[in-house]
Subunit: 332 residues, 2 copies
């Protein structure tokens, strides 16, 4: 996968900050690849990058038009399709992270063919994977696992990768979802892999490496989420992690998209993940906890992290507020 950049980030008519996660991830983690954002009337959120028209983006050199929003219902409305056509005409390839494929929209497919532009559905693997083997492989791997979906696994993993790289360690971020792929320029969206091949796809994503090398593997879902635990399980076995970081969002009211379903405790998440991970790496360890504390004050965040450390005997940080120093130290 070779994603055309720099990007113009299209955020449509979004009003929910969580719905532009993909655009925001690129703006936060690959600002050097991003020229700006393009939104439609009604949009009330921003990535923080300069707002511009498609024409302005093209004039400033944008090569990839990123569909940086989530679309509920799976159908793109007409105003969004018009913008995609305009971007194609302005010389950009389209980068799509939705389940729906752009090639399934006839007018988009026809326009791209006419102009010789690429429609890149980054969520859809083009490789045919093998089934997993669980055979031990060299190199070290860390995986982030969650109490729930969207609790900060990608941010934590990227923070760890950057911190290790900054101190000169041999470390690679491995993207497993569309936002991570956009940041890294490569990866596998494991939630789009045929289920027989989940762990095999992850074994291919982070293969044997030199003994001093760390793969920092982005987690997905949660073993406690009734929709996505299969993805989390296959990812856990395929990653064969030496180290796990537990990720959590403080004060999340319920499991994502399932009102009424409480989140599991950190202890439950630790036990279930360790038991499952030992199937492919009996030496796996939990090295710390990473919490999105954005719902509370600085003081409350520090108190919460201190309490977790006392309770579990593990370092606990908010990567945005406190950095990931204690987690990096725990890796030795």
């Amino acid at each position: 996968m070779n994603l055309p950049s720099p990007y113009l980030l299209f955020i449509g008519q979004a009003t929910d900050p969580l719905s532009i996660k993909m655009a925001k991830s690129a703006a936060d983690w690959s600002p050097e690849k991003c020229i700006g954002e393009f939104s439609l009337p009604g949009c009330s959120v921003t990535t923080g990058l300069p707002s511009m028209s498609i024409q302005e983006g093209a004039q400033q050199g944008a090569k990839g038009f990123v569909l940086g929003f989530a679309n509920s219902g799976g159908v793109l409305d007409t105003s969004l399709i018009d913008s995609i056509i305009e971007a194609l005409e302005a010389g950009m390839d389209i980068i799509n992270g939705l389940h729906d494929k752009l090639t399934d929209i006839p007018e988009v497919a026809a326009k791209a063919a006419e102009l010789g532009r690429q429609l890149i559905d980054i969520r859809h693997p083009t490789t045919r994977f093998k089934t997993g083997t669980g055979v031990p492989r060299s190199g070290k791997r860390l995986l982030t696992v969650g109490t729930d979906c969207s609790v900060g696994k990608m941010y934590t993993t990227l923070s760890l990768a950057r911190a290790l790289q900054a101190k000169g360690a041999n470390a690679t971020f491995r993207a497993t979802g569309q936002s991570g792929i956009l940041v890294a320029g490569e990866g596998v969206a494991v939630d789009c892999v045929i289920s027989d091949f989940i762990s095999g796809a992850v074994e291919a994503l982070c293969p044997a490496n030199s003994e001093d090398h760390w793969d920092l593997v982005e987690g997905q879902g949660s073993l406690f989420h009734p929709a996505f635990a299969g993805v989390s399980m296959g990812l856990l076995h395929g990653a064969q992690p030496d180290a796990l970081v537990i990720c959590h969002a403080l004060n999340r009211a319920h499991m994502r998209a399932i009102p009424g379903r409480p989140l599991p405790s950190l202890e439950q998440v630790i036990n279930m993940n360790l038991n499952a991970a030992r199937v492919t790496n009996p030496a796996v360890k939990i090295i710390g906890v990473s919490v999105n504390t954005s719902s509370v004050s600085d003081v409350e965040a520090l108190t919460y992290c201190k309490d977790v450390t006392e309770r579990l005997g593990l370092p606990c940080v908010d990567p945005i507020r406190h950095g990931v120093g204690p987690l990096v130290e725990a890796l030795g």
Copy 2:
């Protein structure tokens, strides 16, 4: 899915009894739908049904030509394709349970189109599923779970369904793999579902039902198999089982296709499955153990089952040798 029957079971040049599992399943469980088997020179195994040519099968009324063998490597060799073409010309539709699609073989696709015959890839879901919710639903469900792949989950589930139906209970077998689908005439091959939708597909397969109804859901893989645990996990959450039966093959030397990897203990399998299943049904219970004892004598089989019962306090049977009476009783 509406499968054309009666079937002529094509077993190719198979020499390994396990490799014709799909044909054997249909012969054992739906003999009324099977006219006979067709094999090629070199084949050394049998379903036990009469051997006949494609022409003889057609004369006796066969409507579905079932590819009843597993093909390693994913490529059908020429002699097999010739037989498929001959069956199409003899008036049959083709029923395929391999990962590879028949529509991807140009000469088969062309011949089927020319003659107006169906190419039915039963492993590939044609439905677009939703993601799972885990919301409690009415009706009762039993799921078979395994120490490994291919340990008798389908045979156990079918035995339970037939036994419940025989005593007048309101019970339905729910197929989750290609062999089960061939027997039942419908179902979802969960190992071919996009991984984001595993549990959602299973929720659709065994939806809310009347309170006295039992769905007997065929298990897949094992939470301890490093290739397939993601499938098993999504199936477990989606089935939302009230009752689990642990399935095991006595004296299996290693996890399927992974020499050197030992099977987990029954205790490990019980603990891991209960912990995971409680995410969608806190009241889940293990009701018994089902063992394929074909590797030992009658006496040794009885001794083994008695020992398991004493150790775990659960009924333990070989469904083929002993029937499933004690498991049905445990359902109340």
